[in-house]
Structure formats: C-alpha cells, structure tokens
C-alpha cells in the first residue's frame, strides 16, 4: 500500500508545487509591469 500512497501523494504534491510556481511567476511579472488594465 505504501506504493499506492506514494503514487497518489507524489502526483498531488508535484501538481500543487507546479501550480504554486506558476502563480508565483504570474505575480512577479505583474508586479514588474506597469500597472495596467489587467
């Protein structure tokens, strides 16, 4: 069962970490750009 937990866990963690990375990059770029309509 540990393999199963590992499989579920790694999938979840990797996707969450990637999501956070994408969001962080978006925030950094938005800050660096002049304030804008979006």
């Amino acid at each position: 069962m540990s393999y199963v937990y590992a499989g579920y866990g790694i999938t979840f963690i990797v996707l969450v970490l990637y999501a956070l990375r994408v969001l962080a990059r978006g925030r950094a770029l938005r800050r660096a750009l002049p304030p804008d309509e979006r």
């Binding site: 393999y3 499989g7 790694i10 999938t11 990797v14 999501a19 994408v22 978006g26 770029l29 660096a32």
Partner: protein
C-alpha cells in the same frame, strides 16, 4: 483573451473537490483486485495523467498548426502552444513516475522497457527539447515559427514511436502483466475511481493551462516593455539626485 476569473476559480475548486472524492474512492472504497491486490488503486492516477500528457501535446500540435497557417496566425496560438507543452511535460513526468511506482511492486523492477513506458520516455525527451527551444531568444515571429515547426516534427514522431516500441516489446518480452488489466475484473468502485480521477486531473490540467497561458502573456508583454521599464527606472534615479 483569457478565461474569466470565475471560470478558473471554478476549475480550481472543482479539481480539488474531485481530487478528494477520487482519493476517498481510490484509497478507501475500492477493494483490492485479484490480479494486482491493492496496486490497482493506482488506476485512479496513472491512466489519467498519461492521457492528459497526450492531450497537452495534442493542444501544442494543433496550436502550432494554427500559428503556422497564415490565415489563422495569431500570437495567442504560440502562447497556448508553449503553455500546454509545459503542463504536458509535467503530466508526462508524472506518468513516468506513477508508471514506475506501479511497476515496482507488480513487476519487481523500477523500470522496464515496456512499450508504453518507453514510448512515454521518448515523448518526455521530445518535449523537453521543445521547451529548451522555446527559451532561445529571437524575435517574436521567428521564435514562434521555429517552435511551431519543432512541435510538429516531434508530434510526427509519436505514432512511429508507438508502432516501433510495441513491436519491440512483443519481440523481447512477450506479454508481461499489463498494468491495465482488461476491465472484466474492474468493479463499480474501480470504474468510478477511474472516472473521478480523470475528472479531477482533467480539471487540474485545465486550470494549470489557463494560468500558465496567462504567464506566457505576461512574459510576452514583459519582453516588449522591459526596455522601457528599465529606462524609466534610470530616469527616476536621475530625478531623485537633482538637488531641490
């Protein structure tokens, strides 16, 4: 031109909700199967990520064609191609990892030159190359066109890979235990789990592509405005130093 905020929020929340449901079904409700005991629970995770990796690269391929075709050429297709490819690579990597984790207890090894895994590994390599190419600086149109062509070259390879690796496998391995058993042994809980997994990961995929696309848009603007931003900063410095 991007998805409205309420939609992306819905996607995100939906993904989390279905993920919880899928996990409950996969880890609790589902029982072990005859062939693989508990490991068939990985059905909830592995086939969906594998399918979504292909979806990701499929979107990249179609967006690339749309960009290359003069009548439909728009910068947006290039941005979509890049975003979808990166998300696709993440899912492809997960496919390899979950495939390996599944294979270890069932086959006894972390890796085997199974047709599917091998083809998946090649897919991963192909699109890592594409992502590397995207980072090479050039003018907008030149880079977009170059990447679009590279994406198509890679995609043409995919069916050939599958053909070749599956013949290779039958030659060298005969039939090993297929991770995905024929469905006659899958009961309702398994099928529900598979469905929930697809929905949860599918929603997550969509959410990720939308947000990654937005980042591509911002990067594109940043590249254009970076020079004027820097100049602004220098001017601001100059102004402060002048005595009142």
């Amino acid at each position: 031109m991007t998805a409205p905020r309420w939609l992306t929020r819905a996607l995100g929340l939906g993904a989390l909700a279905f993920a919880a449901a899928a996990a409950i079904d996969g880890l609790w409700v589902m029982g072990p199967t005859a062939e693989q005991g508990d490991y068939s629970r990985l059905l909830v995770v592995h086939p969906p990520v594998a399918t979504l990796a292909y979806v990701g690269f499929g979107i990249t391929a179609i967006a690339s064609i749309l960009y290359l075709w003069p009548r439909t050429r728009r910068r947006e297709w290039d941005l979509l191609a890049g975003a979808s490819a990166e998300v696709g690579v993440v899912f492809c990597g997960l496919t390899l990892i979950t495939g390996s984790i599944w294979g270890r207890p069932v086959w006894g090894v972390w890796w085997t030159w199974d047709a599917r895994l091998t083809a998946e590994a090649l897919l991963f390599a192909l699109f890592l190359g594409y992502l590397a190419l995207r980072r090479v600086p050039a003018s907008d149109h030149v880079r977009a066109r170059r990447c679009a062509i590279a994406a198509l070259i890679a995609c043409l390879d995919i069916p050939i890979d599958h053909y070749a690796t599956s013949w290779w496998q039958t030659l060298h391995q005969g039939s090993s235990i297929d991770l995905l058993q024929p469905d006659k042994h899958l009961d309702t809980a398994h099928n529900v789990g598979l469905g929930l997994g697809f929905i949860a990961l599918g929603l997550a995929f969509a959410w990720l592509v939308v947000h990654r696309y937005r980042v591509e848009q911002l990067e594109a603007r940043y590249e254009h405005e970076a020079l004027s931003i820097a100049l602004e900063a220098r001017h601001a410095e100059g102004r402060v130093e002048v005595p009142a």
